[in-house]
Structures are given as structure tokens and as C-alpha cells.
């Protein structure tokens, strides 16, 4: 009996001890110790920082339906005095959103409800979204920010631009991206030579490093057969009218040829071809490199293409220059003479295969060439890659890492795939885009942002609806033929390489516009001259100015300024003395080089434009460096009077 009592007593004590474990664990919890450490730390700071009362701190982020307890330990997030403190107390760098409104896990992922380090970063069993890797942080912006240019997210913006530029949508369905124009392949057999084509297929970037075309890592046989297959498509598009080469190109004496080449060289630079084209890596970035073009295309094709670009290659951006037949022959002669590839690589060994057509067609289909290129023989892309609209929500267990030893998570998978596309399984068909490490990271960031997370509609920033403005009539035909919108914006539509023309007739005087089309010149001496000379006829120029004067007008810009000698003198004083405009602008050969020279401004701009521009430059060009002096109407009118007097 006595023994039983002893056992009972022992068991009772043991039970008490066991029952004490849980409250003790609660009391000596990790977060409590961090809060004590924080309160000790702030004592050592020179600034006065409020100590925290011990207890769990949480944010109820009502709109995103979550509770975040990160601030239980991350106590210095909004306390600038802790900028140099160690984690978990350091200040949050650049906060673009109110933490109380957005919480932490909306961007960072991890387990917001947790109050222990290991659980909170979510690298535990059964938690599907562990803390977001810092290198790819900007992907979180993309969950809500669907607009083109996300503020403060340069990597994301670069990634999205790369996805669009690389034409990923050719093979992958991704919402929100447009397919880029790629030349159609009908007629390629009468355009390029076979040697060039094989080399190109083997490695496009060897010929033109900036090309969009990726490297499909074809074997020699695949490249040979594909080239043979493509060379059978010799019929140009039905829109094309192929003229014979003029006699002087085919049968001129060497003296005459040299003269033609010299004349062609002049025309080539007068037309400013290099505004858009590169010559061996130097020049514009809008079109492809012409440095070796004579070794790529045949002479007859080149002649007819420059004569009527859009007939041979529908929808190409190349404008139709109004060359005379002789000028055109000169330009072609010059290009044929100059732009030869002397270091073309030896094409791979080749023995014609009787089944080349079938094998080439199979290769064409296998690598989904039809995803980007049009070809009458294969009208529809059949071998599409997986859809990427929600790729950011892909779970780790859905990924095949093959025999690689990379980190087993989605970001490292995507980045590795972009850099070495076939590394996971040899059966993969994705080509090599030649991305740098930084570019691959940017594309990964943009892809990771494509999640299927449910975000309240009010928080999603949609892209601005794209303008569909397209001038019609005679002017519209000219705009198409000259591809004005490849460099200029009109009412929101077009690519902004040069200027926005939407208010052109309210900005510049009609006479000046007319003269500009006859001999385009650059307004700013520090920039290279870019506007090509299309050699337009007087009637065409009249059509352009006539349309601009009617449509590209903003009535509110009109402003009548009385130009009296007194006003001019007053304005001159303001110009040189009060505002010191000459520090950036040249007048009469003196002044700075930052802004455009202002000589002859009175013959170029309208007085209304000058007045409004001086009053509020950012209203018209948001990125302009012209300072806003908050001028009074009197000062602005006086300066306008002075500037209009510069003729």
C-alpha cells in the first residue's frame, strides 16, 4: 500500500512537470526574446525610439483577406533610426505601399500567420509559397501591376520588354503580349542564297547579333534539310511585282560601275538609311544590320525590295523611298559592292538528301517555326509550348528538374531554362535566345509575376487601352508607305523613337514643316540626324501639311501675343538677365548645347506654342528637362515676343 502511494505521488509530480512544459514554452518563445532584444537595442541608439510593449503584433489586411504577424519580430520596419540594424529589426527599404494597407505577404509570400522564424519563411512541409527570393522580388509587383511601365520596377519592365521582343508568344500563350512581326517565308528561295541560309539556321546571331531569331541548336543534317525545304519556296507573295534588273547594273563597264557606286554612296547617306539600319553593329536599332546583306540576298530581290518594300514583304516597317530608277540602281550597286561578308563561316558538310523536303518539313513543324513565321505550306502552328499566363503559380512538384543540381524552386528552374533551354531533358525543343544572366533574370521576374492569385479588382492596375488611331485617305496611304508610325506617335498610336506629332500643326508653322520635308535636319546639334529623306514630291508634301493643319491641331494652344519692339526688348532682358536661358540654348552662335539652338525660332514655332511651352513644359512633354519657371503671363508673353523676333 505504501508503495502504491509513492507511485501515486511520483506520477502526480511527473504530471505537473509535463503540464508545465507548454506554458513555459509559450513564455520562452522566440518572438518574446526578439522583442526583448529590440527593446535592449533601441536603448543603445542615439535617437529616441519608442520601446514596444511585449505581445504579438499583427495586421489584418482585410482587402487581401490575410493576417500578417511579421511585425511581431520585424519591429523596426517603419523606424528610420534602425536603418543600419541587423535583421529582423532593420528598416524596410523604399516602401512604395502603405504597410498597414497591404501587409507583408502580399508581396513577400511566406506564412504570415506564423510567429516562428522557420514557419514564417514558409520553408516547411505543406506550405506552398515560401518567402519570395530577393533576386526576383519585382515579380511580386506584377501580380497587380499589369501596365506597360511599372514605376520603380526596372527589372520587371525589362523582362516584359524582352518577352515581347523575343516573341515568346509565338510558341507560348501568354496573356497581355502582342505577337511581333516576323518576315513571311514564301519566296525565301528567290531572296537568299542557300549557303547563307544554312549558316543562319545554325546560328542566326553569328550573322546579326541583335536578331530576334533564337538559336534552335539544329544538327548539321537538320539545318541542311530545313534549308533545302525552305529553298523550294521561290514564289514571292502575290502582291509582288518583280522587275528585271536595269541594264546598267548587269552590264556596266568597271568605270561606269565605280561612278554608280560613288553616286549610290551619296544617296545612301542622303536617305539616312543608318537611322534605322546598322552597318556592322553601328547605327539605328529599329531595323536589321545591312553590313553583310549582299552576301545574304540576291541583287534582283534587293533592287525590287527597295523599290517596293511592302509588296515583297507585306507589313514590313521599311518605308518606300521615292528614288528615281537611276538613283535606285546606284544605291543597289553601292550596297552590292560594300556590304559583302568576307568572313562567312564555312557551311556544314552537305550531301543532298532525296527526302530533304519531308525531313525539312518535319523539322519546320517540330520546332514550331510556324509560331513566328508564315509559310503557305504550314499555315498553322501545331507544336506550341506550354501556356505561361499563370506560370508563376506552378508548384515545385510539377517541375521536372532532370539530373540538374540547381536549387529546387521555380525561379531557379525558369532562369536555368532560359539560359540553357535543353538542360532538363534532351527532348525539350525551346531554342537558345542568347540571354545574358541579367536578361534571363529579368525574363524570369516577368514570368514569375504571371500568377493566378486572386487580387481584388480595385487593386489591379490595367494597361492603358491601346490607341487604334490610324489616319485614312491620301495622308493615311502616305503614313503607311513611309511607316511614319515606326518612329512617330500620332494620337497615342505608334512607337516613340522621334517625336509625337499629335499637336504638330499647333507647334510648328506650316511653311517650316513644308521645308523640313524637303531637307530634313536635326533640331539638336548634339544628336545625330535621324529623319530619313524620302525624296517626297511637292504634291505629297502638300498632302502631309494639309492633313496636319486640319487634324494635328490643339485649339487651346492658340494664343495671340502682340509683338511690339518694347515687348521684344523686355523679353530679351528676361531671356539673358532674369532667366539666363543662354546657359542651355544657343542664340547668335553663343550659349549652351543642352537645348536646341533658338536662332530662326520665329520661322519654326507658333507663338501660341512658345507661350504655353514656357508656361508649363511638363504638361506637353512629361520627361522634358526644360525647367518650369512658373512664369507670369506677362513674362511668358514678353519672352514669346522676343523669341518670335528671331528670324
Amino acid at each position: 500500500m505504501n508503495n502504491l502511494r509513492k507511485y501515486f505521488a511520483l506520477a502526480s509530480v511527473a504530471l505537473l512537470i509535463v503540464l508545465a512544459v507548454s506554458p513555459l514554452k509559450d513564455y520562452f518563445s522566440e518572438w518574446r526574446s526578439y522583442q526583448h532584444q529590440y527593446n535592449a537595442l533601441i536603448e543603445t541608439l542615439p535617437q529616441r525610439v519608442k520601446p514596444v510593449p511585449i505581445g504579438i503584433k499583427q495586421q489584418w489586411v482585410q482587402k487581401f483577406d490575410r493576417v500578417d504577424r511579421c511585425e511581431t519580430c520585424h519591429l523596426g520596419i517603419s523606424e528610420p533610426a534602425l536603418k543600419n540594424a541587423k535583421e529582423p529589426f532593420t528598416t524596410h527599404p523604399n516602401i512604395y505601399h502603405d504597410i498597414d494597407e497591404f501587409g507583408c505577404t502580399v508581396c513577400h509570400d511566406g506564412q504570415g500567420a506564423a510567429t516562428e522564424y522557420k514557419e514564417s519563411i514558409g520553408k516547411v512541409k505543406f506550405w506552398e509559397s515560401p518567402i519570395f527570393p530577393r533576386d526576383f522580388m519585382e515579380a511580386s509587383c506584377a501580380k497587380c501591376h499589369k501596365e506597360q511601365n511599372v514605376p520603380e520596377a526596372p527589372i520587371l519592365n525589362e523582362g516584359r520588354a524582352l518577352i515581347e521582343h523575343s516573341n515568346c508568344v509565338g510558341c507560348h500563350k501568354i496573356d497581355g503580349y502582342d505577337k511581333q512581326w516576323v518576315p513571311r517565308l514564301d519566296g525565301i528561295g528567290s531572296k537568299v542564297n542557300r549557303t547563307w541560309l544554312v549558316n543562319w539556321l545554325k546560328n542566326p546571331k553569328a550573322y546579326f547579333p541583335q536578331t530576334r531569331m533564337p538559336n534552335f541548336l539544329l544538327s548539321d543534317d537538320e539545318a541542311n534539310n530545313l534549308a533545302d525545304f525552305l529553298m523550294t519556296f521561290t514564289t514571292p507573295p502575290p502582291t509582288a511585282v518583280m522587275e528585271k534588273l536595269p541594264a546598267q547594273l548587269t552590264s556596266a563597264s568597271s568605270d561606269a560601275k565605280a561612278k554608280m557606286i560613288a553616286l549610290g554612296s551619296t544617296k545612301f547617306s542622303e536617305a539616312r538609311c543608318i537611322s534605322c539600319h546598322m552597318i556592322n553593329g553601328r547605327g539605328g536599332y529599329v531595323a536589321n544590320d545591312l553590313g553583310k546583306v549582299a552576301s545574304k540576298v540576291n541583287e534582283a530581290w534587293l533592287y525590287n525590295y527597295i523599290a517596293h518594300p511592302k509588296q515583297l514583304s507585306p507589313d514590313v516597317e521599311m518605308p518606300r523611298f521615292r528614288f528615281t530608277k537611276n538613283d535606285l540602281a546606284d544605291v543597289v550597286a553601292y550596297m552590292e559592292d560594300q556590304f559583302v561578308d568576307y568572313d562567312a563561316p564555312q557551311p556544314p558538310p552537305y550531301t543532298p538528301d532525296p527526302a530533304a523536303y519531308e525531313k525539312g518539313l518535319a523539322t519546320y513543324k517540330k520546332y514550331n517555326c510556324a509560331g513566328c513565321h508564315q509559310l503557305s505550306a504550314v499555315p498553322k502552328a501545331e507544336e506550341m509550348g506550354p501556356e505561361l499566363t499563370y506560370v508563376g503559380s506552378k508548384k515545385v512538384y510539377e517541375i521536372d528538374f532532370g539530373s540538374t543540381t540547381i536549387d529546387q524552386n521555380l525561379p531557379s528552374y525558369l532562369k536555368t531554362k532560359l539560359l540553357t533551354p535543353r538542360v532538363f531533358t534532351p527532348a525539350m525543343k525551346m531554342p537558345d535566345f542568347g540571354f545574358t544572366d541579367e536578361q534571363a533574370r529579368a525574363v524570369t521576374v516577368a514570368l514569375l509575376g504571371n500568377t493566378d492569385e486572386k487580387i481584388p479588382a480595385a487593386y489591379i492596375v490595367h494597361p492603358k487601352p491601346k490607341s487604334t488611331f490610324m489616319p485614312q485617305g491620301d495622308f493615311g496611304k502616305l503614313v503607311k508607305s513611309l511607316s511614319c508610325m515606326s518612329c512617330h506617335v500620332m494620337n497615342g498610336n505608334g512607337r516613340l523613337v522621334a517625336t509625337d506629332l499629335s499637336m504638330e500643326a499647333s507647334e510648328a508653322q506650316e511653311k517650316w514643316i513644308e521645308g523640313y520635308f524637303k531637307v530634313p535636319y536635326s533640331l539638336r546639334p548634339i544628336l545625330t540626324e535621324r529623319m530619313p529623306n524620302f525624296f517626297l514630291s511637292d504634291a505629297e508634301i502638300k498632302t502631309i501639311t494639309g492633313y496636319m493643319e486640319k487634324v494635328f491641331v490643339v485649339d487651346s494652344i492658340a494664343h495671340d501675343v502682340k509683338i511690339t519692339p518694347a515687348a521684344i526688348a523686355n523679353g530679351k532682358g528676361l531671356f539673358f538677365e532674369k532667366y539666363g536661358c543662354q546657359s542651355c540654348h544657343q542664340v547668335g552662335g553663343k550659349g549652351g548645347y543642352v537645348g536646341p539652338p533658338l536662332d530662326k525660332l520665329g520661322t519654326r514655332l507658333t507663338q501660341g506654342w512658345i507661350f504655353h511651352w514656357l508656361k508649363d513644359p511638363e504638361a506637353y512633354r512629361p520627361n522634358s528637362i526644360q525647367p518650369d519657371y512658373k512664369l507670369t503671363d506677362e513674362d511668358a508673353e514678353a519672352l514669346t515676343a522676343y523669341l518670335m523676333s528671331l528670324k
Binding site: 512544459v21 506554458p23 509559450d26 504579438i56 499583427q58 500567420a113
Partner: protein, 236 residues
């Protein structure tokens, strides 16, 4: 001291609860047992061998003890848990991370539940191997079988409540198995359990009510009969 007690024994409150005097005579000693709810189920006599520990291994008592632990911890868990699709999982996370001793409560509840299933089963095995189901105890054996079923049902209904993947698919599989019941009853029973055709909000509420009210009440009623019979048949 003695006087104070005597005064207490004479108060109306005391006399209304204990209607007999102090157990000093045989009569009052017998009355103390007869008039007490907890003591009156005692058998008139207990065989010595049935008190021996190695005969029963105390498995029935252990089951009751675990049931009490489960009612106690379960009642406390009910203070924090809401059976709704939007909140159930997060309430469980709150128990894990912010409720004082919440993790202890939940773990106690879970382990006690596992242990109860095992012990009740062992208890049945013991009864079987000692032949304790034989007349006149056949009825109590049947009650015991029902108690095993309630134990397993309590365990199963509790499985859905954390509302995670494991519970969702566990109950999906289980209720799909129910649909295999023949004569067209399967679909009806499954529909009745889930309040629909798939595991969702209705199923969660139904399982919650089953787990916290209907089945425990049934278990308590069955246990009352079970214990009363055990006592009357000469068990502990």
C-alpha cells in the same frame, strides 16, 4: 472545529443534498451509497479476481479517462475554432501560433483521440479473450460494439475539421466509399452526410455538429448504460 461541522451538517443546504446522517451506523452507511448518484451503481458484491489488475488491464477506465481528456480539450478548442470554409484552417493556424497553449491543446486532443481508438480496441480484444461477452453479459457486449463505432465515428468526423488537403481528400474518399452502399442507399447517405454532393461548407458544419454534439451525446448515453451494466454484473 467539531461544533462548526455539526452546525454545517444541520444547515438546510447540506440536508437538502445529503439526506442521510453521517455514515456511523450500518443503516446510514447503506443510505450513503443508495442516495448517491455516483456510488449507487456499485454492485452488491465484487469478486476478488475481477479486481485484479491483470484481468482487466484497466482498459475500460483508460478509455473513459481519455474521453474526459478529449471532452475537456475539445471544449477549449471550440472556443477558438469556427467551422467555416473561410476561417477553419486559419483558426487552426491561430491555435498553433498565437493562442496560449493552443498547440498543446490541439496536440493533446489529437494524441488522446488516437490513443482512445487504440485503447477501446484493445479493451474489446480483452473482453473477447477473457470470454466476458458470454451470458449474462451479451447485451453489454453489444453496447460495447456500439461504443467502438461511436469512437471511430468521433475520430473520423474530427478528421475534416482542420480543413486542410489531408482532411478534404480523406473525407472525399470516405464519403465516396459510402456511395458504394447497395440498393440506392449509398448516394442518399453520402448526400445526408455532406449536405451536398461534394465536401464543402455544408459538410464542414455537419461534421462539426456530429463531432461536437450528436456523437458525444450518444457516446455518453451508451457509456452510462455500459458502466451501469458492468457494475451490476460484478465488474469494477
Amino acid at each position: 472545529m467539531k461544533k462548526a461541522f455539526e452546525k454545517l451538517f444541520r444547515t438546510q443546504v447540506w440536508r437538502s443534498i445529503f439526506r442521510h446522517g453521517l455514515p456511523l451506523s450500518n443503516r446510514t452507511r447503506a443510505e450513503a451509497v443508495f442516495y448517491n448518484f455516483f456510488l449507487h451503481v456499485h454492485p452488491t458484491k465484487v469478486r476478488k479476481r475481477s479486481v485484479k489488475f491483470t484481468y482487466t488491464w484497466g482498459l475500460g477506465g483508460l478509455s473513459l479517462g481519455l474521453f474526459i481528456v478529449l471532452v475537456f480539450t475539445g471544449g477549449l478548442l471550440m472556443l477558438y475554432y469556427r467551422p467555416s470554409v473561410a476561417q477553419a484552417y486559419w483558426d487552426m493556424k491561430d491555435l498553433q501560433f498565437v493562442v496560449s497553449n493552443g498547440r498543446f491543446l490541439r496536440n493533446m486532443h489529437r494524441w488522446a483521440a488516437h490513443a482512445m481508438v487504440a485503447i477501446v480496441f484493445l479493451h474489446m480484444m480483452r473482453v473477447f479473450y477473457t470470454g466476458s461477452y458470454r451470458p449474462p453479459k451479451e447485451f453489454n457486449w453489444v453496447i460495447g460494439v456500439f461504443l467502438l463505432v461511436t469512437t471511430i465515428l468521433l475520430s473520423y468526423t474530427g478528421y475534416l475539421l482542420p480543413w486542410d488537403q489531408l482532411s478534404f481528400w480523406g473525407i472525399s474518399v470516405g464519403t465516396n466509399m459510402v456511395r458504394a452502399v447497395p440498393f440506392g442507399f449509398g448516394d442518399t447517405i453520402s448526400y445526408l452526410l455532406l449536405g451536398g454532393t461534394m465536401v464543402g461548407e455544408n459538410a464542414l458544419v455537419r461534421f462539426y455538429v456530429l463531432h461536437c454534439f450528436i456523437i458525444p451525446v450518444a457516446a455518453v448515453v451508451l457509456m452510462a448504460i455500459h458502466f451501469w451494466r458492468v457494475r451490476k454484473d460484478g465488474g469494477v
